[in-house]
């Protein structure tokens, strides 16, 4: 029988959790720092008044002390995988990084020495080393905790990957934002733009307006567009279209849904605007793409 659920607790109190279910609801009060992914279906996270939908292709980072509810309510099984870090492991990681690296690498998690950071529970693209390492770790964890040293090495690398992603994609890009901007200003801007981006991903199938996004981020529309472009190299609307197209690609490959059904699922107005957009972006029609991926 295939395993549908496990919780592996390491000697250093880090935890690895895997589950394949259609229904789940659990509340986490003042949680530990965790990195979370789904491989199929989607999970909903309710964090205060925010709601995040986590789909395959992204990873979600929940910071220490966050209270949230995780909900799965799905017709197809949702495969979720998460790594929860013990604060002591994070402390040790920070020290090892600081002792080996020069320059100012921003460490985007709270430790006993950095409790006042402004951080946001947010999603990031699951790609490159982060994706490779998560897939390797899952393969090892599926077999049990036969080698704790190795599993811990993987957890170390995932933290390293996350720090690099945060620094490359967010922190370094905001350095141009304000002359002499204090760290607090940068962290606050990153937080607002991340909220806007998460809102777009989580609501991509709905008819969302720029005003909705700007109110989520507590920024004026013009300010939102300017900073969003600075960080993600595209406007919020272009970003929304990209998310819809990538979701459509997923359904084309992994489901038997018709083009019309996919158009409705991902939020395009009509098939012709979807097909036009898809062809412009990927230089192939959705039908040809599906055909090519089946072969």
């Amino acid at each position: 029988m295939r395993i549908t659920k496990y919780l592996r607790v390491l000697d250093n109190r880090n935890e690895i959790f895997y589950e394949k279910v259609t229904e789940a609801s659990d509340q986490h009060v003042r949680s530990k720092f965790s990195i979370r992914v789904v491989f199929s279906g989607h999970e909903t996270y309710v964090l205060g008044n925010r709601q995040i939908n986590l789909y395959p292709g992204s990873f979600l980072v929940i910071n220490e002390d966050t209270t949230y509810t995780r909900i799965i309510h799905s017709e197809v099984p949702v495969t979720s995988f998460s790594i929860t870090y013990d604060p002591e492991f994070l402390d040790k990681f920070s020290k090892s990084l600081k002792s080996r690296r020069s320059g100012d690498v921003f460490l985007p998690y709270r430790t006993s020495e950095s409790e006042d950071l402004i951080l946001i529970d947010s999603m990031y693209t699951l790609t490159g080393d982060m994706e490779y390492n998560i897939m390797h770790l899952k393969n090892h964890a599926d077999k049990g905790l036969t080698d704790q040293f190795m599993i811990s090495q993987y957890l170390h690398h995932l933290l390293l990957n996350y720090c690099n992603i945060y620094n490359d994609q967010l922190y370094s890009k905001t350095s141009r934002l304000h002359e002499n901007a204090k760290n607090g200003v940068r962290m606050d801007i990153i937080k607002r733009i991340a909220m806007a981006k998460d809102f777009i991903i989580s609501n991509h199938e709905k008819n969302i307006k720029l005003e909705d996004i700007s109110s989520v981020a507590c920024l004026s529309v013009s300010h939102l567009i300017r900073i969003f472009r600075l960080i993600y190299n595209k406007s919020p609307y272009q970003y929304l279209i990209q998310v819809r197209l990538e979701r459509a690609k997923y359904y084309l490959r992994n489901s038997g849904s018709s083009i019309q059904e996919i158009v409705n699922l991902v939020g395009f107005e009509n098939p012709s605007s979807f097909i036009r957009s898809f062809r412009t972006t990927y230089s192939i029609t959705p039908g040809a793409f599906r055909h090519a991926s089946l072969n």
Binding site: Y55, D147, I201, Y232, Q242, N254
Partner: protein, 139 residues
Amino acid sequence: MEESYIPVIVNKLDRALRFFTGKLNFIVSAELEMLPGLKTQVVSPQNKSLSLVLVESPSSDHIYSRNKIIIKTDDCIRDYCTFKKAGVRFKSEPQYNSAGLMANFSDPFGNLYALLEVRNYKMSDNYTQNENYQIPAGS
């Protein structure tokens, strides 16, 4: 060309064999007398991605090759951990570069090696194999 052999100069063949088979989990290939008059032995990693000809040269004044021998792996961190536990000396922890993940180590005779896991960093279609797909949410 079908198969290439890379010569590796060692002081003691039996000590080298212990290192390669005991610590790196290499396998000993069939005995081949490639270099007449010299004691040699061919070893390969389990995936047989390369063949090393261990050549015994007891003289201490010969020049070791400073070329690095790259051993391909499908999981660099796993092999790094296995080798490290077996007592292999690594120059550093696995490091990321444009090819993938690499960890450098040496044998007891000073020859240099790297474990390399090649990774495809292009926006790939990996997800067909691993139920995974990508939303390029970043840059």
